[in-house]
Symmetry: C2
Subunit: 338 residues, 2 copies
Amino acid sequence: MNTPALADSVRMAGDAVEILDRRVYPFEVRWVRCATSEEVATAIEQMVTQSSGPLFATTAGMTLAAREGRHEPPGRAAARLRAAGERLIATRPTNNHIRDAVHAILAATADGPLAEAAGEELAEAVAEAAAGHDAAYWARSAALGGHAASLLPDGARVLTHCWADAYLIATVRAAQEAGRRLSFVCTETRPYLQGARLTAATLVEMGYTPTLITDGMVAAALADGIADVTLTAADRVTLDGHVINKVGTLGVALAASAFGVPYYALVQAPDPLAPTAADVVIEHRDGDEVLHVLGTRTAAPGVTGYYPAFDTTPPRLVTAIVTENGVYQPGQVKESLL
Amino acid sequence: MNTPALADSVRMAGDAVEILDRRVYPFEVRWVRCATSEEVATAIEQMVTQSSGPLFATTAGMTLAAREGRHEPPGRAAARLRAAGERLIATRPTNNHIRDAVHAILAATADGPLAEAAGEELAEAVAEAAAGHDAAYWARSAALGGHAASLLPDGARVLTHCWADAYLIATVRAAQEAGRRLSFVCTETRPYLQGARLTAATLVEMGYTPTLITDGMVAAALADGIADVTLTAADRVTLDGHVINKVGTLGVALAASAFGVPYYALVQAPDPLAPTAADVVIEHRDGDEVLHVLGTRTAAPGVTGYYPAFDTTPPRLVTAIVTENGVYQPGQVKESLL
């Protein structure tokens, strides 16, 4: 089974981390080299990578930070690692991947058994914890993908918004292993065009010919019966079943509900630290990004852009939430943590 | 009061018609010269102009066609005019402006009192009928604008999709004359970016600083309370209150309904020839347009575009329809014809 390019888009390269630049893929295959954890943080802020990418960038960034302190004495190396983790967490607030990756690595090392370790030992342990976190993410995504694929009958036409990354890849793989044919409709997902570029390219790499629509066409397409199922990742799911995901997801869910199409949200697990939507910070990005497409100005002079990067879909619009542990009604999703 | 550029975007220039190219405005102010009514029809098909533009292009195209037959005998000149009208009507099926303009001009000339006139006399009469139709369109739009402005309280924040053209200009003028302050949120309206370019530019020309969002942000923006009112033109309104307008309107109306924001549709009159939505042909355009932005490829290789140019909003999602005769509940809109 072929591996799509975006399934391996963060890599260690000598003393640096290289991150595939998702702002230009697939038109350019450009890797951004980050020599320090600070450069990794900046790359995440600047959207060099997104979706699951920041998780892998974070574990790699923590590995770099630990290496940076490998000649430091106990205490100082651990403090450096904690500071790097705080910096990485501060990059983007809405998805909990970064926070969870930092906490997992710290709990296994500087905030756990290696609090008194010297830099060299800490660096080795962090590299190991980072690799373990990455591997666990793929394994959990694969479990999620199996559950999600069980919701897709043979021949299902799937409309997806933005780029569900590892969850989509795992779902497609599970459906393929089960011999189920699927077809896909992708929204282009302005302003970064993740759907037109990342989802579309990956599905092509996996053997499909996706149909592309603009973000404004979702309701018309669902009213016209173009899809049997709508499905997105979730950047965060609260314990009471709110789905926070790329802006536009709420419109997909509203249209799906209005026209009797199921809407499924994919997330490895709800966030135990977010009882409800008020506990999630919605990132607002620079409105200037709305005024451009791939760097070219598309808006008239004199306007201001507004860019909430995520939106919140209430449980009533969510048919089910698929986690690593199974398929849940949104009101019962916290049972996935038990 | 200043006249926005798009309020005067079709003009006779000697023996030709010049049409402001809305595909590139405001980045370029380019006029497409059409020497024949056939060239006018092609320009309409190719989206050189849209919204109200095809109406003015049609009356100008009919004027050209009549001139083309000015040396022809009775009968042949009239037949030429009818053929030109059919060609213009065939350009785009969803909005009824073109059909109505052709029928009005023919009824006043070749299909009416001038059925037996020679080419020269017919050409003069067509030019007069065309000018009268244009003037009536502005007058009816102004009446509509007065009714629409009455729905917008001082300080109202208005979210609009695509480009409502003469109706929006008339509404804004009426609100300005009444001393009411407004502010605007525009959707960019992919794939042609009418909102980001035409609506935004015109509102800037009229003294505002509109806020731009992507088409996928409408639901999030309304959930966040960014607007008090949503308002679009309608390309067609059926006698039972269905609103056919630029694709994306249905999503706006769904979100407005979900979050308690009124949705108003503006149309001079419902279409007496369209009892319900099944009587309206929804134009599907070349899907390739979805794969590009302003001529630059934005989608991954290997995908297919899908481009329904309009969608249909059912009466239950429409707060009111504003016509030249007043404000109507969608179920009562046919009373506007009485």
